[in-house]
Symmetry: D2
Subunit: 329 residues, 4 copies
């Protein structure tokens, strides 16, 4: 059996752990060979490949990024994209394709499989943890850990000074990183994209916190927006700090974590999850379970249809957000 | 409502996060008051209490250990232990008791509830992750993270030198920490208590690793034992390194992590889990769900009978161990 | 002997380590007693004190912030400030005062000693490492470590994507944190307040970096400014990313670390330095060396006049900056 | 100019940072070319080389270990070793040799230069910080940081339980790591090879600590030995824990950090120091300053004779050890 592997979409710690597990298990248990495609679907369309054997995956487990490179290339919008994929796979005698990626990358895999019979198996990847088909996605735990450590450090200053401290974390569409890091870091306010925030309420929380002789720490997802529809340009964290300063007269400072959250070595949890996803993707290929992707349910890795990757965004449940509300203010 | 809280058994990062969540939610959402009992069941028997209000739990979220202290006192073996518990709870007008602990502590809570009608709600705690009733226990992720970081660092030396490196991790009865840290750290051999190891096989793995021009890293749970029943005194890690050195002639070095694994600040995951356990324990008390404990299933916190805490040790599944075997040698 | 202790100015990891060392040595070696003044000079003026004994300093070594609180109160601008200090010290029968702080706090101590004979001993503190009298100040190593870890994580993204990554670090007047973190993190451009930067040159470096098929990481001190005097409002990091994007057409992202750099547990180096400063401040008090402060020269702690604290800002030496230039572009 | 580079002796975080700085500066500022010799002096004797250009050093700054490999080969004990070195250097037209290593490696460089005119420049490396010619050596700060973090974590357990906790750290001949990590971690007893310890005294400290209702943490360098000359086999940490348990009846647990201390990513300080050593080694080569090595004095990098590397072990000064004694017991 000869298997192609590709990674698509944005950076996410754990991609290399998946690749390594796929190759180690495929080679050692089944004697398969592999081809790596460079930069996601672009590499498949253009036949741009990377040798992928046990030696190539040595030492990559703890490293962030992806040794295969990534892109957002969509073969369906390229002239002849799909036909060229068919040609390349035939030329390389590829029996199956393991696509590791998010909504975009896996949506393409789902269509290629459903409409063109390309033998795809998927591995879901999103730092935002917003896939409804799986309990957790790798990369998320690492991002939450980094944001939590930042909040931990801000508590020192919150304790000693009288400043409002705002931390902007990732999350354009969903607030999972904000919610988990806010809970783990003991933030006083958590703002998520799923619920527009009321600046008056936020300022009231800030004020009540100061009364408790302790400065407030606010965690805001980059996609959070105020209820009144005021336009937010640039960083919402900077915007929020300015708005609070103007309303409350309290000095406010912002930390914008940015790409720091998606780089560096994956956490132990993410490495475990990514490794198991890789091992089970090989099982799916072995079983000819094309059109499926792996997913975590509880502590078990299961298979779900590839289409589940694009089905529905897993938004922060209002009940979960309300649960966290006991720590606000 | 007046609620007592106690922590029992060994250290485990996340205990303070549970205590804080219980108090914050109980006070802010329900207006309850709390009493902390010092050193687990000892404090209940002796009426040794600690004030427990919002102020008392401020700042404890990121801290290891437990502000309530802990012990392994068993009221059932103390003269009049159970009667004295009844008296103390009556004296303090305690409406319910939240017991945070492992097999021992929760087993006592289960009996007190079943046999004496004491209104107990449990929160499971074990660094070893060996409770079958819950997908994960807090403290485990922190321990795995610490062990993984140690393995990461050893790879440098394994790469530069020609030494066998042995890391002994926690796990007297189950090998969950060894399995997860071994997978996450990219160990070449993982030895767990659930399966006696064959020293010949271990030495064969060591030898094959050296042929691949890279030194082997072995992760061994403190409770792992050789198949032939050779007596192991003191650290099994030290014993194993000696045995490998004698058999293979290769220099071997040992790292014994010990208590380092159960101390210090909990990981973000463990804080999230512990916090949610605390919030849901309050819900259980509110609902009068005595005799239950909280547990994680997937990403949901559920209630199970307290007796589930002592039912059955969750051993490492042979299939999971076999899955990891692809990385051995 | 009865000794007062105060901390002034901004947060800096290591303050608690100094306080602990002072008290432990004073009590155990000399049998002295201590009074802590709350919030820097404000506490002395107002007689606002905190009990300070061995019990009070237990467990504070690894904690950021200061258990004594801090402020920027200047008794010389308060009505009767200096007279009230004299009264409070007399009332408490204070034989000496250990002032821990930066330029502001120690400048006040210097004047109080020189003009009013107040028996002050100083311990220098600045996260910016910009005191010419000492080789290193505590807090700096911690800040550099945090900034370096952030840069490390950005390399992953720089490697996988084609984005310009800008990290803004602390340093209003001096670029020590930027220089050290930039060198340690392998940044491609380091911008410091001591030398106005040329945006054309910066964009040329960015372009040349992209040619080397790798994305550029720029570290910019918050006080760095462009040569042409263009007004920079808000974060210079955000400003720089915008400017680069407009000029080069490359997408640019910013991380603004902010107060994260001055919070949290001090590094081992900072704890060692702060502890030794504390021990030697006690020696200075014992020797009646009022009007001096402790300083590090090589690996030795020495005494210098308190006035040295305010003498001269230690700017980044142009030769050192040029030395780092070999890594630019 | 063509320059050879080699690394010798044990692992030490920062070696790659030196190599990278040497190559970057040599190439970019002077247009030199480089040859890497594999595995220290062995590679020079045998002409075993590695290509060493800007591409080869990309991304190695944060990595532990050495991309050149290391060994303890001594050409002076090999048949024809010195003559073969001369031949290889002539064959490769090597104008100078930068040797990065400890006492052994630099001692060989010193002899080769003094006795055979080989144009060597040295960069000192020892994780133990025991070179008298330099204030600090790289790798030491990283090791101290790792040991301090372990001690930090043990405090949690010391606080909750009543156990004696022993941490064995590196240091066969000198106690610098023990002293610095012990001070930074707030250990209650620090034992170093420079002063034989009195077990009675140690047990007295342990007892007094328990009276203060807190469990003791002891840091012991692997080379520390008891005064009465009792034979210590295997780990002194394990030996000490056993001895304390027998004498005091208190349960004692040991952490043996082992090679974890010398692996993994170097601290920011060590990267800064290693980078500057590399830059200045290039200056020394440029200046024809053969027979010298770089060293840190205060914050300046200076040159000293290569012979200084082997002159004298920098033992822990009794005064420094006594200074730390205020925290014992």
């Amino acid at each position: 059996m000869h298997v192609g592997v590709l990674t698509g979409g944005g950076d996410c710690p754990g991609l290399n752990a998946v690749i390594r597990a796929v190759v180690r298990k495929g080679v050692q248990e089944h004697g398969w060979s592999f081809t790596g495609f460079r930069d996601g679907w672009r590499g498949v369309v253009e036949g741009d490949t990377v040798p992928l054997d046990v030696r190539a995956v040595r030492g990559i487990l703890p490293r962030g990024g992806t040794v295969l490179g990534s892109s957002r290339t969509d073969p369906f919008v390229l002239p002849d994209g799909v036909r060229r994929i068919g040609e390349q796979l035939a030329k390389l005698r590829t029996d199956a394709l393991i696509a590791i990626g998010g909504r975009g990358t896996l949506g393409i895999a789902a269509r290629l499989h459903a409409e063109h019979g390309v033998p795809c198996v998927g591995v879901p990847k999103t730092i935002d943890n917003d896939l409804s088909a799986t309990d957790w996605t790798f990369g998320f735990d690492t991002a939450v850990g980094i944001a939590t450590e930042a909040i931990d450090r801000l508590h020192t200053t919150a304790d000693s000074h009288r400043r409002v401290l705002v931390v902007e974390v990732m999350g354009r569409h969903t607030g999972w990183i904000a919610l988990h890091a806010g809970l783990a870091g003991g933030a006083n306010v958590i703002l998520v994209p799923e619920q527009r925030f009321d600046l008056d309420q936020v300022c009231a929380w800030v004020a009540s916190r100061f009364e408790a002789t302790y400065a407030p720490i606010l965690v805001v997802a980059e996609g959070a927006r105020p209820r009144d529809g005021a336009p937010v340009q640039g960083s919402v964290g900077v915007w929020l700090a300015d708005a609070i300063e103007r309303r409350t007269g309290k000095e406010a400072r912002t930390t914008v974590l940015g790409h720091v959250q998606r780089g560096g070595s994956p956490s132990a949890f993410d490495r475990w999850l990514a490794t198991r996803f890789g091992l089970h993707a090989v099982d799916a290929v072995r079983d000819g379970a094309h059109g499926t992707m792996v997913a975590l349910r509880g502590t078990r890795v299961v298979r779900v249809p590839l289409s589940a990757a694009t089905d529905r965004l897993k938004a922060v449940d209002p009940a979960l957000y309300a649960e966290a509300g006991v720590f606000f203010g």
